[in-house]
Assembly symmetry: C2
Homo-oligomer: 145 residues x 2
């Protein structure tokens, strides 16, 4: 496996105003199984995780659709939803070394929203690349812990 092959798709985040209604489409009409639902109080979101594919074929982590519903006003995702309406919020690509990935992106002129990787409580690292550098798609770089 060469270096390029190590860049994988972690998730596609879709912002929705009503998680239960969105599950009626993605789970019931489209038929994707729900692996879990989290309420992340700190970030003000409820998130449903819908893996696409067989976990055994992806080291346990197939790419997922993540349906994200804001649970309070004033968060970034709540404001985005108010402005754009429901739709794809970002693509998350997983990289083996986020610092190297950020350096490479910056060296090629891409604008990073986070100047340094941010760290979640579980030790994972992430940073966003501005849509104006990516042809309209907010991209999250993500390094597992």
């Amino acid at each position: 496996m060469n270096q390029a092959n190590k860049i994988t798709l972690n998730h596609i985040a879709i912002a929705v105003p009503d998680l239960d209604a969105a599950l009626k489409f993605y789970r019931d009409a489209l038929g994707i199984a729900v692996a879990g639902i989290d309420h992340v109080e700190q970030e003000g979101v409820k998130v449903a995780f819908l893996p696409l594919g067989d976990p055994a074929a992806h080291d346990g982590h197939p790419p997922q659709i993540e349906l994200v519903q804001p649970t309070r006003d004033g968060t970034g995702i709540a404001k985005w939803l108010g402005k754009h309406g429901a739709g794809m919020h970002h693509l998350c690509v997983q990289v083996p070394d986020i610092n190297a990935a950020m350096r490479q992106a910056r060296d090629h002129g891409a604008e990073l929203i986070n100047p340094e990787p941010a760290r979640r409580d579980n030790g994972t690292l992430y940073a966003f690349i501005h849509p104006k550098s990516t042809f309209g798609v907010l991209i999250e770089l993500y390094q597992p812990s």
Copy 2:
């Protein structure tokens, strides 16, 4: 592997006005290898295929980013790009039986853009689900030949 696990992500299509410029980001700045570039004269598009992940772990077909540049005016993708600007055009999910998937979607009230599956020259079948049924994301159902 249960039935739900058989729904996989085939590609994420991103509409761009200039394929070479988009490759400077996705290939050079983000570092995803390009598997190929097609000029589909019939559909009026040039498409670059950028697989995310190791083909060996995905039966040879990892999910791909597809960068799509219209090559003439008047096509659906050219009109979309003129209206929205660059960005994600659609998500393509691969299903084992497109007729069953379309029936299930319709039974749950989803609006299909194609009433019957369309067929490409290579025998693959596809149909689109309207974004108003999917919380803002144009979804292509796809059955390999």
